[in-house]
Amino acid sequence: MKAEVTPSIQQPVKTSNNVFRYLRFLKFFFTNGKSATGFIIFLVFLLIAIFAPLIAPYSPSAAIYDPNLAPTAHHWFGTTNTGQDLFSQFIFSARNTMIVGFGAGILSTIIGLIFGVVAGYRGGITDAILTFITNLFLVLPGLALLIVIEAYVKASTPYVNGLIIAFTGWAWGARVFRSQAMTLAGRDFISAAKMSGKSSIRIMITEICPNMMSIIAGNIMFATLGAILAEAGLAFLGFEDINSTSWGTMLYWASSNSALLRGAWWWFIPPGVGIALVGLSLVLMNFAIDEITNPRLKGQKRRKKHGRQAARS
């Protein structure tokens, strides 16, 4: 019954068809305005992150320039009150944010996959226990938990924060993966794999996971966005090594040196725009993936008024 009730999002198609499916997927992904825009923004920041030392004109930490400069030709984003170049800080922060964001996003997706797929495929008591743990992490307030952990792990680096974020933020993905694995577990091709003697672990890795690739991709985007925002929030509150270079730390320094009340907009606008742009690129790509997996959301007009007009005529 179950397989009928749930919309068949992914039909299991085998080998050669699979290639075409992914090609179609890619074609849609790059021709869709939203995801293409998102991908371009993402690519720009990825390049900035990779080539940060080449792009940044100065050292991000050297406090040797004129302090409190508004943007000038030499200092595009001005300088801090201790004379650090803000543009260089911005560029190097992109690198940390991308590493922490994607690292935590991918790690939490993997944890979510383990919990979700095992729970959904196994069912029974395993499912009950794993689902309980998942629901528990889902309802515990994320940032509050992170802050409390930070109270005991003092002045952690961005990377440690990324790890903590991944270990506390995987639950939403696990929930989505579980329900998808549950519907897949009842399909014929899984039964066939079982009868051919494949072990459960192999079935989960080679049969179930490949059939929910788009959900996994979507979850990586979603989890990365969450990790970037959480890391920025923690750094802004001052719960990250304040000498590290990240957009959140820049905002921490801006606000603790009351850049707001001195009108130094060049200090706190760029880091926020950076976070928002990277976040936006992820949301845009995620939106396109949503439209692919759920065709009803795609642009075509609702079967507009057909019913009504037919009834009236």
């Binding site: 309980f132 309802v139 409390v148 549950m182 606000s255 707001l260 936006l280």
Partner: protein, 331 residues
């Protein structure tokens, strides 16, 4: 009924887990944070006071189980210890004075956000490809990608600093004495406006897009098409036929939404120095005030758990399939 018992069971278990995390975390960390704390206080407090604090904190007793029992006992008798930073104010007093601020701010902005977002979602799902349907999801995506606290900073800068429309920080004008009079209420509202707006805008997009997507799925159902063919009025079709069913998945996403709002409120309160519980938590962590940290985290966790429980129970009222067990395996 089984569902209700189930939800209560989960509530009790998760409550226990939150309490236990709170107990274990400080004891799990390398080095005893409390010892470092006491070292810091050595000069400021009398030895007798430190002894009393140590006893209250179970330091020096080796039996972990005994500590746990004492901790639980203290918790349920509202004996939450004394704040390190504002010694000897009981933690429960500080909590009591800050909870109403957060509850008012988060509660009201969340209610407005859910109502407004759901209504807008219904509206744009009906006007597919209209101006709003094309722009609103994009605008909402930008809001989704923006950090709450950065939006709060922008509001402080634009509306507080540049335009001077609203006060920059705090919950009310400190020159006024709190009370139920006009000038105090006005001061309270004008101070709450910007933080409230931040929370509202930050969470609104999720509700709009979620409702829009649910509506589009529901509008594709046969019973809606049939009703349309019968000539049911548009407004009736949207609200009585489609929205009623589309609103159910909205409720299940409440769990993640409330977590986001609470996280957002911690950051927003920090930006506005709003006298709420989130602000207490961050300042307690900064000053290593462990009893305060434990109490405020526990309170935040409990309120989120209670909110979830209420939504779960509401869900069973709204969806009869849940009560009869037809959907017992979903979610």
């Amino acid at each position: 009924m089984r569902y209700v018992i189930n939800r209560f069971g989960f509530f009790v278990l998760s409550l226990w887990a939150a309490i236990t995390i709170n107990f274990i975390l400080p004891r799990l960390m390398p080095g005893n944070p409390a010892d470092a704390m006491f070292a810091k206080f050595q000069g400021q407090l009398t030895p007798a006071a430190i002894d009393a604090m140590k006893k209250a904190y179970g330091i020096g007793q080796s039996n972990l189980w005994q500590q746990y029992m004492d901790y639980l006992h203290g918790l349920f008798t509202f004996n939450w210890g004394l704040s390190f930073m504002q010694y000897p104010t009981p933690v429960s007093d500080i909590i009591k004075s800050s909870v109403p601020w957060t509850l008012g701010l988060v509660g009201i902005s969340t209610l407005i956000s859910v109502f407004l977002g759901t209504t807008l979602g219904v509206y744009i799902s009906w006007k597919r490809k209209g101006l709003l349907d094309n722009t609103l999801p994009i605008v909402s995506m930008i809001f989704q990608a923006m950090p709450y606290f950065w939006m709060a900073l922008l509001f402080v800068f634009i509306f507080g600093f540049k335009l001077e429309w609203f006060p920059l920080s705090h919950g009310y004008d400190p020159s006024l004495t709190p009370g139920w009079n006009g000038s105090f209420l006005y001061s309270m509202l004008s101070h709450a406006f910007l933080p409230g707006l931040t929370l509202l805008l930050g969470s609104l997009s999720g509700w709009i897009v979620g409702m829009r997507n649910n509506m589009i799925n529901t509008l594709g159902e046969d019973y809606v098409t049939f009703a349309e063919a019968k000539g049911v009025r548009t407004s009736r079709l949207m609200f009585s036929y489609a929205a009623r069913n589309a609103i159910l998945p909205q409720l299940t996403s409440f769990a993640i939404a409330i977590g986001n709002v609470v996280s957002g409120s911690i950051l927003t309160e920090q930006v506005f120095s709003y006298p709420g519980i989130g602000n207490q938590l961050t300042s307690a962590v900064t000053s290593q005030d462990f009893p305060m940290i434990q109490a405020s985290f526990l309170l935040i966790a409990i309120s989120v758990l209670v909110a979830n429980l209420i939504v779960d129970l509401l869900y069973s009222r709204l969806d009869p399939r849940i009560r009869t067990g037809g959907l017992s395996h979903e979610g």
